[in-house]
Amino acid sequence: MTTTAEPTDAAATDGPADDARAHDDGDLLVDARGVKVHFPIKRGVVFDKVVGHVYAVDGVDLRIRKGETYGLVGESGCGKSTLGKAILGLEPPTDGSVVIDGTDVASLKGEELRKRRKDFQMVFQDPMSSLDPRQSVESLLVEGMKAHGLASDDKATASRLRELLKAVGLPAAALKKYPHEFSGGQRQRIGIARALAVEPKLIVADEPVSALDVSVQAQVINLLEDLQDEFELTYLVVAHDLAVVRHISDRIGVMYLGGLVEEAGADDLYAQPLHPYTRALLSAVPVPDPTREDEREQILLVGDLPSPSKPPPGCRFHTRCPWRQETRCDDERPQLRVLEIDGVPSSHRVACHWAEDIESGKIQPHHVDPTATEQDLREEQDAPHAVGDVEEAVQYQHGGHGAGS
């Protein structure tokens, strides 16, 4: 597939990779193709003029098999949450299609959509903001069940509620309590119970443990794993913590600026990251072992993630890539492809023109000029008009703090 510099035209919706995976279409639960979500940037007082777009998700193919956990990683702003929402139909895609369990999500309307909604549920990072504080746990759980006709018989409902609480490890007394009466970890259990209440097939969990302390994180991770076995759930887990994603996922997709740059089985990806961005990302994670830390070789990236409203042409990573080449990188957007490297399975796909030569060492990393990577927010936001006084600056520096956490 040839590519152009225009972000919106650059993504492939089909390609050779489709053939490689056609055989396992039978047990696919999610089949997303060429998904794009572009948010218009509007300006103007009287008329909203569209002055540009945020290319939040820009051409992603994603397939999730029944019963597996697909992990989506990447740095903040790369489009993970938006892609998760697009798959659930919560954010209508600008382009592309999402088929879940044989049904095109976009074709569902009204009553039909409402009915199918129960099959796909979402669990959020901050359970407090997704749980209505005025509703008791019981009413939070029953609400969804009622909406889907799962709470017609009072006795059956009561026993279902007990089951749910037991499944997520909360005492029965929790039913009469309100969200603020629980700790962060318990609230996340409530969020999970609410998703489970309607017997979904797919759960999209967006940063489900990021807001939790490490000691509690593990409780929720283990819970998600147990529930998957018990209820035959399929998960799409979105997270920025690479160790968490590696732990719970069967397959992992790495996102950079709206696109997937690498996809592989969890073990393959961490054993042999092949995209320059994945290499850098994995090398940057500190591990709790001083001996390894002293030896850890880091690929330090310079500069910031470019703005998703102005993604670089060609390979989106080329402005920061230590392996960028004179040809192709700047003007041809690489697609996910199977590599010609011995021992790398066809399920391990990489969107880099030079992945083979980089892996063999034929291409060596080089210095990257940080100026080229700069994220310029100036054109996106206007400067404040007031110019404050110097004393104030010092106050901000030294005194402007409460005892934050």
Binding site: S76, A218, L300
Partner: protein
Amino acid sequence: MTATATTPGSSRHGDEPLLSVRDLRVTFTRQGEDPFTAVDGVSFDVRPGQTVGLVGESGCGKSVTSLAIMGLLPARGNRVEGTATFEGTDLLTLAKDKMRDRRGRDIAMIFQDPLSSLNPVVPIGRQVTEVLERHKSMSRKAATPVARELLDRVGIPDPDRRLTDYPHQLSGGMRQRALIAMALACEPRLLIADEPTTALDVTIQAQILGLLKELVTESGTALVMITHDLGVVAGLCDEVNVLYGGRIVERGRRHELFASPRHPYTTGLLASIPRLDGARGAPLTPIPGSVADNLPWEHACAFAPRCSQPVDRCTEQSPELEHDDGGRALRCFNPVEATS
């Protein structure tokens, strides 16, 4: 580099502590509420060129410890006891204006959220030159090239242009760099960093941690690193203090502590995090319950209700922090067997 003129190596790893915190206790006394002791008898030393870590989960008293040392706690509603001796002066009893002077000159602090520490309506360059004018008695004209150099040193690309930028025009990582540049402007001998990379992406975190490491090794700055991330601690801190419920429960040099953690809370933390090194799929062993289950330290071990191996004494008596000769300290009646 002019802005950090300390001769490299001059005072590194000196034996005398630069900062010595003893029995620091912070009690919040809000009207109509029971007094709440957030920091409960914390003691530690930091030497020039040394990095000391304070690690523990949210609410264990890390930020309150650092804010108390810096004299930045709210003026009312709390009681601070103990001492924090910095070169012979107790910072906790220092007059407000003297402390403010110290903060600019000898001691600096960086926070998780740089935006809250930067003045939104003053350009970045001006905020750095202001520190230089104030604490180095430089003229604005003389300060500008130094500010430019500082921005360059912390890895802000195109610093000439950035001097005139406002904080909101910078990304989170660039803001944290700008804040570090301001902290460096006064060549602090002590830097307190409270979760400086928690809000940043991992590739940006790597850049900032590299910068802090460089500062400690090249300028001999003493660093107090506050974090909840055991990986960050393992790579950066010479000495690690594990806090639980406002008290230090375990202390050790980083290699020793990670090679043989003894407190059940420390081992519990290590067993509950998924790690990138090692095999995948090993089940995680969470610490049961949450801090809401804590017992009061006065007559128990606060961690006992969540502990994997409590004994009777744990709910009857308060364990003391016992020190050995090798810089190791432990507050536990039934510690995990030493493995080395």
